[in-house]
Amino acid sequence: MKLSKEQIDYCMECGVCTGSCPISRLIPTFSPRQMIKRALMDLDETVVKGRELWACLTCARCSTRCPVQIDFPEFARIYRGRARKEGNLPQLSHHGTLQAVTALQTRPVRQNRTEWARETGKFASTGDYFFFVGCAPFFDAAIKFGDTSMDTVKSVLKLVNRMGIEPVISDDECCCGHDALWSGDEATFRKLVRKNLDAISGSGAKTVFFSCPEGYATFKHHVPQYFGELPFEVLHITEFLARELPGSGVKFAPASNGDGVVTYQDPCRLGRKAGIYEPPRDLLKLVPGLQIEEMGLNRENAVCCGTSAWMECSNCSKTMQTERLLEALETGAKTLITACPKCRIHLTCAQSNTDLHMDVADLYTFILNRIE
């Protein structure tokens, strides 16, 4: 990324980025401000060779507040590409299993990505709507998560079926490339996107909808950046449902005492990256009597779930997650709802070996289960 002349002239070294960074609070040597400054002073090499480049969560807390609009996550992403070339690599979580799966998908492999859907509801191979399922259903390959990792997408399929939509679900879909992109692996990202674009164009879809915020953000912002304008609409399912569910005649059972109070975790990719704050909340408000108690840090100020792109999961992550869970518990809510499968995994995982107990629920399943 090139910083524009205006940004270089205008950066006042005010420290809003570092002051906003959840990592800087835990690792005092990590400072977005100083990294930007070093890059501006032609000390790129120290940034490219440093370990700290991988510590950034790319959560965009800094960039949305920057008075000069320096996109630090984008800065980190570009420098990660250079770091990778020089052999400075991140520490991969889960022994790199997920990156290996991604790498496999860049090759001509035959996948079974529709069996779960056949058991769940109705879908098609061509049509107006393409449901980009993402990898959520397949996380159980690496993460012990009971038998609920499929819930998100099953619930989404059931919900859209109720709206009379039989979306395309494709065996040829592959990883959206989000994690490769944010790990500086542009080559893998390009290969994956090309395969996905082929799969989508083969279906004749005019609208591609996503439940996973990462896939959505990738197609909304980065795919056009690399491949030009897309011939289809990119939609997040919360926007679609918040618009269509209220008038659809679907009725919700009132919240009972047990699940009456919930709180909501804004995923970085859905919130700060895409500006989608209200639709998920609007969906929750459809359940009569449900009380949404906001955490102090919500919407623009929400805090990341602790890791991103399946790398650099550290003590830092655990501390962040624990603090976030404590904040969620303080609201008096029994359930923490999120619209991102990774938030759900991370905030559930963080509870192990702690005294913290909170149900971390997926938005779509929560909604679906309350339909009368």
Binding site: M12, T18, Q34, P67, Q69, E300
Partner: protein
């Protein structure tokens, strides 16, 4: 004051410009003089009407922190000191209600409920625009929590707190503490109500509640009425305890000692206004010094990227603030404000000198919000057909800072660009001189008949 008394100045307050026609030397300005429902020539400004007016409304001058009446004066020193009826709230103007109290108490007979707007045409050789400024809406920066965190206020609100005629008579109390104080009478009322209910039972059964309750608890008194009485006793005791607790809390309230100013809220920020608003550093220092004068225990922090003390004696003032009022200047731009358990704001920032992220708990946060063009600037620009610059202020040439894009129309103060009071006053005089200059020079000055 001088303007109000000057024989050659006709003041049309509470009026709006509707049209400006003509050209240099011969402008015709259409002005709507809005109905005040009070006769300006009769009103002596004694204030008897407002004293007796039964309708309390939010006091705009005190930014909603205090109450005014439906017949009001914007502020005490305003010129002219005529009162005005706010028809949105006045009972006389609300369907189905009758009042007329102000007309009854007004000895000057100035109240006129039937007054109409007047449309005047003013002939003028030149026009000077002094449409002033508006403050940046701090809600646009969600991380600072203005509007969400009760103890985060703007510098203008703080100015009212410091003022002897302000809502707290010059004492700096936190909004949450004020709310607690104000909630006490309501709570005492409920307690009194519960007490009266007890008295009824006591009369009926000729026993005091204190005698009755132990007997009831021991199971000696049974029956529906006794149950109700017992319930009332418990309710009263709960309320009584609450009143005592809140009274103690209110009595122990102290004024806010730890204050932090946050600079450049909406200024020097390309998301909002990229310019420096110019006056906020100095007013933060001024308010900090006054706060310390009122409260010798006050510890004031001013957090900003730098202090822009541009002007004669300004730098010395800044140093005096540090030396005598113990202001601590912190070099940073605040990242976010969170809240502690007792509503105390916690400021998060990187101390860029020490290169460490810090959190600073304080009693009250004061936001130095940016100077923005007032809505009237835009409206008049459209009416008259004037150019504005990228920021929305009237466009002027650096070599002709008082001349707008139309000959004969001049500008001064924050309608032209952000500036402080002495600069605005100087510019106003300059604009008046500039107007006199072009009129006398061009020979087009027409004497008013």
């Amino acid at each position: 004051m001088d303007v109000g008394r000057h024989p050659n100045i006709r003041l049309l307050a509470y009026s709006e410009v509707e049209k400006v026609e003509g050209e240099l030397g011969d402008f015709k300005v259409t002005v709507r003089k809005k109905a005040r429902y009070v006769d300006e020539s009769k009103c002596t400004g004694c204030g008897a009407c407002a004293e007796k007016c039964p309708t309390a409304i939010s006091d705009e001058y005190n930014l909603g922190l205090a109450n005014a009446k439906a017949i009001y004066r914007y502020f005490a020193q305003g010129i002219p000191s005529t009162y005005t009826i706010n028809t949105n709230f006045c009972r006389n103007f609300q369907a189905g209600k009758k009042c007329g109290v102000c007309a009854k108490v007004c000895q000057a007979g100035a109240i006129d409920y039937k007054q109409q707007d007047q449309v005047l045409e003013v002939e003028a050789g030149a026009v000077i625009l002094a449409t002033g400024y508006e403050l940046f809406d701090a809600r646009r920066i969600p991380e600072y929590g203005y509007g969400r965190l009760p103890n985060v206020v703007t510098a203008l609100e703080f100015e009212r707190f410091l003022s002897a005629s302000g809502p707290t008579h010059g004492h700096v109390y936190r909004p949450t503490d004020l709310a607690l104080k104000e909630s006490l009478p309501e709570l005492e009322k409920s307690r009194q109500k519960a007490f009266k209910a007890l008295e009824k039972f006591e009369k009926q059964f000729e026993k005091t509640s204190d005698e009755f309750y132990p007997l009831y608890e021991a199971g000696e008194l049974k029956g529906e009425d006794y149950e109700k009485w017992a319930e009332q006793v418990r309710a009263f005791r709960d309320l009584d305890g609450e009143v005592q607790a809140r009274k103690e809390k209110v009595a122990s309230l102290e004024s806010a000692h730890r204050l932090a100013f946050i600079q450049c809220v909406g200024s020097r920020d390309i998301r909002f206004n990229r310019y420096c608003s110019g006056f906020c550093c100095m007013h933060a220092i001024k308010e900090a010094i006054i706060a310390r004068e009122h409260d010798p225990q006050a510890q004031v922090y001013i957090i900003g990227m730098d202090i822009r003390a541009v002007g004669k004696g300004f730098e010395e003032y800044r140093n005096r603030g540090a030396k005598e009022s113990h202001i601590e200047y912190v070099r940073s731009r605040v990242a976010e404000i969170t809240e502690d358990k007792d509503h105390s704001p916690v400021i998060w920032y990187e101390d860029t000198k020490e290169r460490v992220v810090k959190s600073l708990p304080v009693d009250l946060v004061i936001l130095s919000t940016a100077c923005e063009p007032s809505p009237a600037t835009r409206i008049l620009a459209d009416i008259i057909g004037l150019e504005v610059n990228d920021f929305g202020f009237y466009a002027t040439d650096p070599s002709q800072p008082l001349d707008t894009s139309r000959p004969g129309i001049f500008v001064c103060g924050c309608a032209q660009s952000p500036m402080d009071i002495p600069e605005s006053v100087a510019q106003a005089s300059s604009a008046a001189a500039r107007a006199a200059q072009v009129l006398s020079g061009s020979g087009t000055l027409r004497l008013a008949s």
